[in-house]
Symmetry: D2
Subunit: 392 residues, 4 copies
């Protein structure tokens, strides 16, 4: 299996998460064997990290060594070590549209044309990449900045046929993010969406993936505050401590934070955070407040502060507070790498459509047939391990 090359085509290749993940793989290639943060490092039945070859699109033309230097996530000494291979990767021009992500503008874009043209362009990029690196398989990963999110129940998103008609008609409900997902599925590439954007999570694309025999996963990587929420809430339910209120605030200073300053992007983000608690607890928490604030001193080092009001025996009140001083991209990058391995495995097994067993990685897991997703981390982990251990 180590002979095979897995192509990884990343939407948002120059971003903090992507460059951190790629730097990590290059360090692994050089023998830096620290597996911290990689949940499935011990699963040698999956393709090795070193089998991954990276390419992808970005609005900024900088090569990845430059991009990683700007993000200041990877330590300077580590970055020096892998500056060579990173410097040899430059992003392909992106299909972007400021109408969907106001703050995300960049020089490295394909001129905006009809949707069909854009799709053709993206499919050609993938095909060329696959050929150039003689990839056994190409996995498409969406790590782009949060984009405005159309209503997933819009007519053009309801069925494959409607989506095709929407492409013909240049329906504005079809965002760039949906185009990338569509192109991946059409090219037979397993697809994973780590962002809060819709990605493939609309009926049209899920059904298309099902029909095309392509596995898809997403959405919105579960890294910081929501991770903690899906760990603590099951314990409160287990001990019958009623959650009277849950106040969450996040401060972060990276490009993600800046983009969330745009209210439409923020709405998209908050939406994927919303229903988690209620599903786990089995009742509605009336006072569930989530704030995200752009605050530059932190850079990529996010801080998430939670206050939880609990009611226990005899109606007595308690409080639990959590302060998580975390690093956004450091938490996200290893998950992305393991997701690529899992999607390659799903592809190998012939899995198709929404991959529910990968809910472990996401704030808003895709499900089949409109099912409510499971959010409790330990239940998600069990589902993942059961799938991994199932006879192939």
């Amino acid at each position: 299996m180590t002979e095979q090359r897995i192509g990884v085509a990343v939407v948002g290749l120059g971003g903090a998460v992507a460059t951190t993940a790629i730097a990590g793989v290059e360090l692994l290639r050089l023998g830096m064997r620290d597996m911290a943060g990689l949940p499935l490092a011990h699963r040698t039945d999956l393709v090795p990290y070193e089998s991954m070859v990276f390419g992808g699109w970005d609005l900024a033309p900088d090569d990845l060594a430059k991009a990683a230097h700007v993000h200041r996530v990877v330590e300077p000494a580590q970055l020096d070590t892998v500056a060579g291979p990173l410097g040899r990767i430059s992003p392909w021009p992106a299909v972007a549209d400021p109408a969907y992500c106001r703050n995300a503008t960049g020089a490295n874009t394909v001129p905006i044309g009809p949707l069909r043209e854009r799709v053709a362009h993206l499919r050609a990029d993938i095909a060329r990449f696959r050929a150039e690196i003689s990839a056994h398989q190409v996995v498409v990963v969406n790590l782009a900045s949060t984009e405005a999110r159309p209503d997933p129940a819009s007519p053009a998103l309801r069925s494959p046929a409607a989506f095709e008609a929407g492409l013909d008609a240049d329906d504005p409900v079809i965002t760039p993010g949906l185009l990338y997902a569509y192109a991946a599925i059409q090219e037979g590439c397993p697809y994973v969406n780590f962002t809060p954007g819709l990605g493939a999570d609309v009926p049209a694309l899920l059904e298309l993936a099902e029909r095309a025999g392509v596995p898809v996963a997403g959405k919105d990587g579960k890294t910081g505050q929501t991770l903690v929420k899906t760990v603590l809430a099951p314990a409160f339910r287990s001990r019958a401590l009623t959650v009277e209120g849950w106040y969450s605030t996040n401060i972060l200073g990276n490009r993600d934070g800046q983009i969330l300053d745009d209210p439409s992007s923020l709405a998209s983000k908050l939406d994927t955070k919303g229903s988690v608690l209620n599903q786990i607890l089995g009742y509605d928490v009336d006072d569930h407040v989530v704030r995200i604030d752009y605050y530059r001193p932190r850079g990529d080092a996010k801080e998430a502060w939670d206050n939880i009001d609990l009611v226990g025996f005899l109606g007595q009140r308690m409080q639990l507070k959590v302060d998580f001083l975390c690093r956004d991209s450091i938490l996200a990058a290893p998950l992305v790498l393991d997701l690529v391995r899992l999607l390659a495995e799903a592809g190998r097994r012939g899995e198709r459509g929404a991959q529910e067993q990968l809910g472990y990685f996401f704030k808003a897991p895709v499900t089949r047939d409109g099912r409510t997703p499971e959010h409790a981390l330990h239940a998600q982990e069990r589902a993942l391990l059961d799938w991994l251990d199932a006879p192939a």
Copy 2:
């Protein structure tokens, strides 16, 4: 099943946990149906809370209305409502020995005599209680203050025969807490130890319980900081975040805190907190520090502050801090009530010896054959529910 009476004989009947639990049952009897804090309230296949009748021993002679008033845990208005039934319960004289629990002294004690005499006294108490209330079953619950803990590998604690010889010889290794456990087993009463003392968790008594067909459970109720630890640590392991250090401090102002001012009691307490992390994580955390400090402004309202140092992808560091403003007895009392129901059920099923499936409730669960206990809360919960749902 609702016809049956379950006698609950409590060691430390006048303590904060016991009086809170009993007040709770009396409120339930009066129709106060709030089940917050009771993990198994929905399991109607267990004996109802209202079937419990309480008695027990305490160093202080105060009736339970007076005792509850002093502890200031139950709200005054609630206490007024149940002052009648609580005032009618007074503790039996306790078998205590200041040699084992220096700060715990009281007027309501049986004069210290030979161990055999003390055992006989305790067994007579239990038998009389059973008869008086026509109990279908009596469960013995240890809620006494933390006592000094002898080495569980001491000769007299290694086998039933050695223990009997120790009783004959008045071996000082046999603490009051061990006597209560022995008396319970001899009377055929399911026994649960919610304290950090040894209770029945020595080879001699576990084997005796096995032979006598008596189920025993313990030890040290998992309520505050350790509860949080066994919820968070599995998530860190799952996400491959290495725990570089874990600093825990507790401040509490109730009698428990005062007794822990005595170093030998503290040692006993810290010991049950120690190995939890290493078992869950699968490696030793070199910098695991646990502090407990007596601090009066808090009263029964404990505060547990944790700082956790994590290492993630590419060796980068993160921190997570938890501040739990909790109420010790409010967290403990409902667990005690569900444990009584579970031990009654275990007795009904003919379970014998160490009840591993009850590890969910304890910091240092008893196990069979020296097995390392499972500490992750979600795994413990699954084991409990599996047992409950197993065909009887």
Copy 3:
């Protein structure tokens, strides 16, 4: 001096702060001598607390015993003790206008008429109150909910003459809060504004107070997070620790929090919090973020969480976090009582116009001639004590 009666006419008499302050005075009258929270309790040169007699306006008609019961700030046992005197005080109908404070509506209002009529009504209330209680002096205190705030540089607010013309013309820039302040000044009553509304802090009214020989003070009581800010920031400046960012969030569940859900009221509140840091530090903090969120589980018990990013020697970064679990009205009420005493003293001394020496109590102290106010708490305290100790 103890013979004299000080009338206190409160705008917002039935609110949480007012009822807490009044309950406190009644408890003092009954010999409850705990002076906690009263900064100037030891200054026997000021009028005694017991000399105060309370009256005032409120949108809700409930007597103060009922109102205090609803606010749940004063402990039930204490409230029972003073239910008699509190029950005998009922608010006068208020001059209110939903156009200025959307969420604040109530049944106990004077029908909206021309501004001149409203002023006359308020002056008559004050005059009647003074006569009824034979007050030596009446102090008017604004404790009403935050109202929308007109631009203080509006033409009608620039001079006494323009203000009079505005009254004649029913200029909508003249809010109810300005009317109360104007009526107080016209009646020769010392006036203090504890709310973020403009109160008397417009050129027209400050000059009018100066001319009329009436002392005025305000605005926005400094109780929780801003208090902490004006204590810590001077220390950072003193130690040359550069404040790179300061993130503040507040969660509160009382009527104040609810009203701040209205964006125009919130803007008014945030404005008075804004410039504090920059004045103390002597430079602009680019990342100073302040959030206030309505969160019901807290009731009147506010929580203020601050994160401060500091840069020290050699450019190294540090963080300081503060979590203040405070009680809004409990902090505010004693300040109001001492302010009444200080304004009575200022009146006695013949002070007129803006009382800068009272800046100690406020987030946005009034100043003379457009001066920038001092915000550091210790400097404000010194100014206050210097004034108190100056030869009268």
Copy 4:
């Protein structure tokens, strides 16, 4: 004045604080003009930082470039910049005695001999240093690790004569720390003790300094938690919020933390922290608990967590919590540099004995005639500035 050279003879020259301070001065010399952390950077009437020339004693023989590298306080890039000048400074052999500071052992020591010999050795070191660098003045600074602290009321420490007799008799009450202070005074060098050890703060040495016309200052630099305490406590007093309890815990992983693992060093440290609160508040805080724990993950980056229980108006309770993620040496080093400048100034002015106006820098300021020191930071700052601005 810029022509003059100030020699700085440091006890503990290779420690984290000393090397950080010296690296800072070298960076200033190179034009790195960031003055963050230096409280008196703007006082150009004091000697310039660049006038300082460093020498001193240490148990470890490493040159300062090596020592600084080990401490990992100064950023690698900054350290590279000043590696040249730091590498040219090597510590002189120290006069140490494991009997007084168990964990502090090192190869670079003077063989233990009679006290008189040791004093002669130290005096010769100072004289040689002064001559070598043609210093206008030499200031001696104690930055050594915490040592065991004899009772300052011991007979040999009560008067200059008794001290001289003690030296003759090799009285074990005379610690190495006292010897350095004595040698400095005898050489006419202003002396400052930044450690919790006694330094010059015994009657014998204070009087000697007075007689010799030498200014002395100390003790125990006020950098982290105590700094915060002396900022917050005055505000609580000012607002009449009663401090019912104050719980402080510190975790740190540098050599200081390791040495504090030794109970006798810890006692010395805790002692200087103790009385601060009571002096500021004017009453005794019964539940004032201070913990210091050695916890390696932090390295030099200390974390201080405080919980304060407050009682306000009507007896209601509030809590304030502070979490200070600070850097020990980064906070201390600039204070040391400004202290050198201030002691040079005190020397210039002919000040003699205990310098009370420097209390701003210390946890346990030296005072004259056994006076209780002022601890409130803002009052200390005022005293310092008043002294600086006084006509020379």
